[in-house]
């Protein structure tokens, strides 16, 4: 059974693991995560040698390559500070799969230590920072898409919506089949593009039907997928990483 | 080597080594602690939810309810046992009721087509019932064979309210099933049904279209339980 995670008191410092997708495609989401954390009086350490958690290789079956990439990240967090990851998918990889990936190797203890310090951003903001938000934005109807990794692997179905609920002017709309996958799934979208397309089509329809003006997600993979589908259809519904959404409306 | 030896050898000489067996905690399927009223209410709710009809009767007058039921359902030919008190009492009460009583203490080979085509209802006793799922439990006997509760379009089951228990697990443990299982043990929860045609429920696909449970109460009827 999944143990109930005990949350530490608010630390002075945290590490930020930005993820490769954010680094390359959506750096502002990473910056907004950093700003939110700094606003809480937490110093954010960003190891410049970070690259990727290794998940793309791992889920494709390339375990050796994934292990090598993951190993390169393990040394980046020497102090016992929490490691914040603005992605349920990369967070899930590091928290749930690093221990197994390094089981029986010299790096096992270090991998377990890192895994134990991984927090997904919204999880950390809710459960450790107890974030209090003051909404300066216009009234808006928004749909939340919690990534499958955040929802199921990390058990964080509630933290994203809880943060949005703290925004006074924001109405969180209810979508049909909110917990269903958007069809991204990393290399799945490439290996089975037509099935993935059918899934994202249903997801965009559900978000649109719910009357959302925009959608928010805690994973850039889903955002790229859902947002890319909306954009290709010329729809006005845009996606935003939850860190950016929170920062934009409360700063 | 025989298939048996090959399979067992492969399992015994497991590549990743012997496995250790965990202990099991069964508390989630027992210990409900329901009162007799709660038990009855749950039983009735659940069996009703799957299309089972329940009739409450006082123990000493149950055959009257049976007679009425047979008339209401238009039963002309009723299959039933002889020795079980339920069957014996029913036979007495129905002697002049205009219902043909079909003997079931015959090998099925002698009367299969008759049973399939010319019996309107089967009357059986029950050993008890399960409140949590609304299930009857039956151990068919030579006196009340297996097909009686299956082949006729109507199954009438007689249940003593006092034999209701909370869960399937409780029944199995309390009656020490593991010490001796019969030829056939059955849980029956409602009439035969299917949803194989586009999720639409239909009853009586192979077995009975209707299941009526006559619940006999030793004392007065429970509050709110009407006699039909």
């Amino acid at each position: 059974m999944t143990a109930v995670k005990l949350y530490p008191p608010r630390p002075d410092k945290v590490y930020l693991f930005g993820t490769c997708l954010i680094d390359l495609l959506y750096p502002e989401a990473g910056m907004d995560a950093l700003r939110l954390l700094e606003r809480e009086g937490i110093e954010v350490l960003y190891p410049q040698d970070q690259t990727c958690c290794g998940q793309p290789a791992y889920t494709s079956g390339y375990q050796q390559e994934a292990r090598a990439v993951a190993a390169a990240q393990l040394d980046l967090f020497p102090e016992p500070w929490p490691i914040i990851v603005p992605s349920g998918s990369c967070g899930g990889m590091m928290r749930k799969h690093y221990p197994g990936l390094f089981a029986g190797t010299d790096l096992e203890a270090q991998a377990n230590d890192v895994a134990g310090r991984i927090f997904e951003l919204t999880e950390f903001l809710v459960h450790v920072c107890h974030l209090d938000l003051e909404d300066h934005g216009e009234p808006e109807r928004v749909a939340m898409h919690t990534s499958c990794s955040a929802r199921r692997e990390m058990g964080l179905a509630e933290t994203g919506p809880a943060l949005l609920a703290g925004l006074g002017q924001v109405e969180l709309v209810e979508q049909a089949r909110a917990s269903e996958c958007c069809g991204f799934g990393g290399t799945f979208a490439v290996r089975h593009p037509e099935i993935s397309a059918a899934m994202v089509e249903d997801k965009t329809q559900a978000i649109e039907a719910a009357g959302a003006q925009c959608f928010v997600t805690s994973d850039c993979g889903c955002m790229m997928n859902i947002g890319g589908r909306f954009e290709q259809q010329g729809k006005s519904i845009k996606g935003e990483h939850i860190a950016s959404y929170l920062w934009r409306r409360t700063s | 080597m025989s298939a048996r030896e090959t399979i067992l050898k492969r399992l015994r000489e497991r590549a990743d080594g012997a496995l250790s067996a965990p202990e099991s905690d069964f508390s989630v399927v027992t210990g409900r602690g329901w009162s007799p009223q709660e038990r009855l209410a749950r039983f009735e709710h659940w069996i009703g939810s799957v299309h089972g009809e329940v009739i409450h009767v006082a123990e000493d007058d149950w055959t009257g309810a049976l007679t009425t039921l047979l008339v209401d359902k238009g039963v002309r030919r009723l299959a039933l046992g002889k020795r079980h008190p339920v069957a014996a009492e029913a036979r007495l009460a129905l002697a002049d009721a205009g219902v043909a009583l079909v003997d079931v203490d015959r090998d099925i080979e002698q009367w299969q087509r008759e049973q399939f085509e010319n019996v309107d209802a089967g009357l059986t006793s029950t050993r008890g019932a399960i409140a949590e799922t609304g299930s009857l439990w039956l151990w068919p006997t030579p006196d009340e064979p297996r097909l009686m509760s299956l082949v006729p379009p109507l199954h009438i089951a007689v249940l003593d309210a006092a034999t209701l228990e909370d869960t399937f697990f409780d029944v199995m443990e309390r009656h020490e099933w593991a010490d001796g299982m019969p030829t056939n043990a059955l849980l029956i929860s409602g009439p035969s049904k299917t949803a194989d045609i586009e999720q639409t429920l239909a009853y009586g696909v192979h077995g009975p279209r209707e299941l009526v449970v006559i619940v006999r109460h030793a004392t007065e009827l429970p509050e709110g339980a009407g006699r039909e």
């Binding site: 490769c20 390359l24 495609l25 750096p27 410049q48 079956g61 375990q63 050796q64 390559e65 990439v69 929802r151 199921r152 917990s179 996958c181 069809g183 799934g185 290399t187 799945f188 979208a189 089975h192 593009p193 099935i195 899934m199 890319g228 | 399979i7 067992l8 497991r14 590549a15 990743d16 067996a21 099991s24 989630v28 399927v29 090998d107 399939f116 799922t133 006997t141 064979p145 297996r146 097909l147 697990f169 443990e173 099933w177 593991a178 299982m181 030829t183 056939n184 043990a185 029956i188 929860s189 035969s192 299917t194 949803a195 194989d196 045609i197 586009e198 999720q199 696909v205 192979h206 077995g207």
Partner: protein, 484 residues
């Protein structure tokens, strides 16, 4: 489907992509599955109200693990107790051997007609075809299976075989194949099937069923069903042959209620099925009905291979409820036939590679977005996503080599790509240079990225990477502090 030419419908896992396309392009199939799966998911959720579901799943997993831990001993115990009860036990290393055993039992009784209760393992071993070839007619009696058989198809779901068909299609099939009037009245169609099948029950020389749980402690065979065809199959014909995979054994009788609770709720959202049929023995002296002979055929069929590996072993916990397919967004889109295997959906994708080899089933382990819905609902907590990943490793030759066809997808080109990724991701300065360069060249990003951009716009690298933005941010902060 209705547009397809008459005749046998065959599907093959090698054709996964083509079959997926066909299903995706078939609005009827899409609608049938979507509607059915939505209903099943809602019903499952409701049926666990009032339950400590996690404790129940934990117990279910634990019971199955215990049974597997003691599997060889339990099989021997089951055999001894069955034999003591008068049930004859047979062992088969593979499906062919199991088919032969069943056929020989039929032949020894001169049976030319077999009536079948739902059994996935007999689908797996293609028993019907085998018997037909020997001149023995095998007729499915579960309504869904019957309809699928009439339509010369295979089941598209392990619990609801005809779930891909809607009422109109079924009406057409029943009209075409059994000659009844066309009707949309489900009760009328059900009643017609009842009549047709009752004759066949009476005529059958042998009844063949599956087994949901085989209890070692007492030698009891448990069958779960709603229709009563399972009881008919195991009671009406003079001979009953139960066929089961060797993994279906459980240790104690008391292990059965929790698994039964999990099975019905997970499968169809029912708190209980109409019948729970526990078979102890053939007809005893003085009893008036039931088969005079009962046989149990224990089929290995690749299961003892799965058994060897600590991780893959979890596959054998499965109690065949189908909840993983009901909740699978891929299965819901493409339907069961697309997989081309006896067991479709997530459980099929982790089981079929062992039964058929990775060569045949190479597209199945990747046919998942790893969304985790299957693992979340599995009543015995099989870590299906992890097993999919493991099979992906086996496919590309990076697993333990414990699956037939391991390494079938090894490709020098793909490996080189991942090695390139590895090199970049383990050389931070090269990584930073590369991502920074991508940002500078963002204007050159192709607008078409293969299949991705058929349905979505292409993502564009940002002009400045996060690494660089953080550096700037921290430098600015330091400046500010120094000014103070």
């Amino acid at each position: 489907m209705s547009e397809q030419a008459p005749g046998v419908h065959t599907y093959h896992p090698r054709e996964f992509h083509r079959q997926a396309h066909e299903s995706l392009d078939n609005p009827q199939i899409r609608a049938n599955f979507r509607k059915a799966m939505d209903g099943l998911m809602a019903k499952r959720c409701d049926s666990f109200d009032d339950w400590d579901l996690e404790a129940l799943r934990e117990l279910g997993a634990n019971i199955r693990l215990r049974a597997l831990a003691r599997l060889p001993d339990l099989l021997e115990q089951l055999e001894a107790n069955c034999e003591a009860n008068g049930v004859r036990v047979h062992w088969a290393e593979d499906g062919d051997e199991a088919c032969r055993i069943v056929r020989e039992i039929c032949e020894s009784h001169g049976a030319t007609s077999v009536i079948k209760g739902k059994s996935m393992v007999t689908e797996e071993m293609h028993l019907n075809d085998h018997l037909e070839e020997a001149g023995i007619e095998a007729l499915e009696s579960d309504l869904g299976e019957y309809l699928v058989q009439l339509n010369q198809q295979t089941p598209s779901h392990i619990i609801m075989p005809a779930i891909h068909l809607n009422t109109d299609e079924i009406s057409q099939i029943m009209h075409d194949k059994t000659g009844i009037e066309r009707t949309r009245d489900v009760d009328a169609m059900t009643a017609a099937a009842r009549q047709q099948l009752r004759e066949r029950f009476m005529a059958a020389g042998v009844g063949v069923s599956g087994v949901n749980f085989a209890v070692a402690e007492t030698g009891t065979l448990c069958l779960v069903e709603n229709e009563g065809n399972g009881r008919m199959t195991t009671t009406v014909p003079p001979v009953h042959v139960a066929v089961t995979g060797i993994e279906k054994v459980v240790e104690h009788l008391r292990d059965v209620p929790p698994l039964y609770s999990l099975l019905t709720r997970s499968a169809t959202g029912q708190h209980v099925t109409t019948y729970f049929n526990m078979i102890g023995s053939p007809r005893k002296e003085g009893e008036h009905d039931g088969p005079k002979e009962v046989h149990l055929v224990l089929v290995d069929g690749g299961r003892s291979d799965i058994y060897q590996d600590d991780e893959l072993l979890d596959t054998l916990r499965c109690i065949r409820c189908g909840a993983c397919m009901n909740h699978c967004p891929v299965y819901t889109r493409v339907g069961g036939h697309t997989y081309g295997t006896t067991y479709p959906g997530p459980i099929g994708s982790i089981l079929s590679p062992h039964l058929m080899g990775l060569e045949e089933t190479r597209d199945l382990p990747t046919a998942s977005s790893l969304c985790g819905a299957c693992g979340e609902v599995c009543p015995v907590k099989i870590p299906i996503p992890d097993l999919l990943v493991r099979l992906r490793q086996e496919s590309v030759g990076e697993g333990r080599g414990n699956v037939a066809g391991a390494g079938v997808k090894r490709s020098r080109k793909e490996l080189a790509a991942w090695k390139g990724f590895q090199w970049l991701a383990t050389h931070p300065s090269a990584w930073r240079a590369g991502t920074s360069m991508a940002g500078k060249l963002r204007g050159l990003t192709p607008a078409k990225l293969g299949a991705w951009t058929r349905h979505r716009t292409a993502p564009k690298p940002a002009s400045t990477t996060l690494h660089a933005l953080v550096k700037q941010h921290q430098a600015a902060k330091t400046d500010k502090e120094e000014c103070r």
